[in-house]
């Protein structure tokens, strides 16, 4: 395994008028790494995910993926190259079956979707790959259920399964634990432990316990600036971080 970063972010900026929400953010993620980004509310974490996934154009800076400059590519182009995101607010196709949610993501990368007559739901190849992704998140037994009828925790899993099914090598997970109960959290953390074996992950999360259990690298974002990056242990002991962020958490 080479040590060259698979994701490299340099000098990324985004401002809305006078409000700078992403301020000169730089970091690298090496293949197979789980890189967590933490920070207080309003630090600009979700904006950063938007910029990395391509749904929001950056004002300045560079994003490279697998050695290619993808700064100017839109979300669709980035997905094709293997960068997929999950949404903080669950965003599955509620009216579709669980299987179809994943199968659509497979369809997006396998062959043309300008096929007009053969029923898509009977394409064995698509369904098989979709089932693999579902099995990975232990949703295979729910495949025929309507996605809208899933529990909250199951929908969070489906979010991840969809990202997997899209063939991503890099997963951008935006607060996958948001709104999850204690047991659901434990299951999802275990799931991410497993995903680490095969995927590079950028994780945004509020749950510190989960972050320090999972992350190889942790970056701290405060008001759009990255004030520290390092291993979990080094970040935890960083006085700036304690002052700006962890102190708050402990006080709370």
């Amino acid at each position: 395994m080479s040590d060259a970063p698979i994701l490299s972010v340099a000098g990324l900026r985004k401002a809305y008028g006078a409000l700078t929400v992403t301020d000169d953010v730089s970091f690298d993620v090496r293949p197979g790494e789980l890189h967590a980004i933490i920070g207080p509310n309003g630090a600009g974490k979700t904006t950063l995910i938007h910029q990395l996934s391509g749904s929001l154009r950056s004002d300045a800076g560079r994003v490279s993926f697998a050695g290619e400059d993808i700064t100017r590519l839109d979300m669709v182009e980035r997905v094709r190259r293997g960068v997929a995101r999950s949404f903080q607010i669950t965003s599955v196709l509620e009216g579709f079956s669980v299987l179809e949610n994943a199968a659509l993501a497979v369809q997006a990368r396998s062959g043309s979707s300008f096929r007009f007559f053969a029923p898509a739901a009977r394409e064995a190849q698509l369904n098989a790959l979709a089932m693999d992704a579902l099995a990975r998140v232990q949703l295979d037994d729910r495949a025929q259920r309507r996605a809208g009828s899933l529990s909250h925790g199951e929908k969070r899993k489906l979010e991840i399964a969809i990202a997997l099914a899209s063939g991503a090598r890099l997963l951008l997970l935006d607060e996958p634990l948001a709104g999850a109960g204690k047991e659901e959290t434990a299951v999802l953390v275990e799931l991410m432990q497993d995903l680490k074996q095969t995927h590079t992950i950028v994780l945004i999360e509020h749950d510190m316990e989960a972050v320090f259990a999972l992350a190889d690298q942790v970056s701290v974002l405060v008001y759009g600036r990255m004030i520290a990056t390092g291993t979990a242990a080094s970040v935890r002991s960083d006085p700036d971080v304690r002052a700006a962020y962890l102190g708050e958490e402990e006080a709370a």
């Binding site: 391509g54 196709l93 009216g95 179809e100 659509l104 979707s113 300008f114 739901a121």
Partner: protein, 339 residues
């Protein structure tokens, strides 16, 4: 500047809420359609028995609008694009017949090809521009383009202008005047309607249709897995335009007359009403809606020349007090909840 700088589908999110799931979207829809088609196929027998040839003329006209409503359902019900210019495609198809037959080309195949080409081209150009926008813009722009087509036909003084033009004769097939017989025309329209229904049913279940439906439900999600909505929505828009063009070909033949009145924006509004009343995103609903709408129209017209007033009141009340159209009402009554 806005947060989702690349989420630009014309989809109106709320449209998905109108969509009917459950029985009518699945096998039940095919059953309902089979019943409707069977009844229609037997209708000429009834017309003969009752000695009421006008029945067949009415039914033919209804089926022609059902064909147009069916095509609109692809755009509106499956694509969540509130297109307010659909009547323009009917008009373009009808004028293709009028202009060609006025110039000595009476063969329906040639006319149909011309109609499909012209309406698809118009859909491609106006759709490509309209789909750059969304929400109220999309509605207004499709309405405006429909009106543009209307004024274009009004200005064609060589083909009757405002007054319209009477066809020298109905279209022929390989030189044979097959459609001169009302019953032949009836069955021709029925056949095309069934074909279009079956074809569109396959399309909405296909890879393409699945992308279209996914975009309707959640465009952002679709982009996040790598689909650009624009191409799929535009393709659906063009397909629908072409089918409505075919409806125009039949409308011209049925009436043996073509006028800009076929493509007024009120017509477009009525087509939307048909699709919504019948239940969007079910295909069979569009057919049922067209039948119900035109029958109610005829029925109201018996009572008063001011039947449009009744129609208007009915519409306002339906929107204010029910959701999901006739089918939605039926499903609620029978306790079938919407997904």
């Amino acid at each position: 500047m806005s947060a989702a700088s690349q989420v630009s589908p014309a989809a109106t999110p709320g449209v998905a809420e109108h969509r009917q799931g459950g029985m009518l979207a699945g096998r039940g829809a095919a059953m309902a359609a089979a019943v409707i088609f069977l009844l229609l196929a037997l209708l000429p027998l009834a017309a003969t028995a009752l000695n009421d040839p006008f029945l067949m003329v009415t039914a033919t006209r209804i089926m022609i609008f059902a064909l147009a409503a069916l095509s609109l359902d692809l755009v509106l019900g499956y694509g969540a694009m509130v297109s307010f210019g659909h009547a323009a495609f009917i008009g373009i198809g009808a004028y293709a017949v009028a202009i060609l037959s006025a110039n000595g080309v009476g063969d329906i195949l040639v006319q149909a090809i011309a109609a499909v080409a012209a309406s698809a081209l118009f859909a491609l150009v106006t759709g490509a521009i309209s789909l750059r926008t969304r929400g109220v813009y999309f509605i207004m722009i499709t309405l405006a383009f429909g009106q543009m087509a209307y004024f274009f036909m009004v200005s064609l003084s060589a083909y009757g202008g405002d007054d319209g033009i009477t066809l020298p004769a109905r279209s022929t097939l390989f030189g044979a005047p097959l459609l001169d017989d009302d019953m032949a025309l009836f069955y021709a329209v029925l056949a095309v309607l069934i074909l279009a229904f079956a074809g569109l049913r396959a399309v909405v279940a296909s890879r393409f249709g699945r992308v279209l439906r996914g975009t309707r439900d959640n465009a952002q999600r679709m982009q996040a897995i790598g689909f650009s909505p624009f191409r799929y929505q535009l393709t659906a828009y063009v397909m629908a335009g072409a089918i409505a063009g075919i409806a125009g070909v039949f409308l011209a033949n049925q009436a043996e007359f073509v006028s800009p009145a076929y493509m007024t924006w009120q017509r477009s509004g009525e087509l939307i009403v048909m699709v919504v009343l019948g239940g969007m995103g079910t295909l069979v609903g569009a057919i049922a809606g067209a039948i119900a709408f035109l029958l109610v129209e005829d029925w109201l017209a018996i009572f008063s020349e001011h039947w449009k007033l009744g129609l208007g009141i009915l519409l306002v009340l339906l929107v204010l007090f029910t959701r999901g159209g006739i089918v939605g009402g039926v499903e609620r009554l029978t306790g079938r909840s919407q997904p």
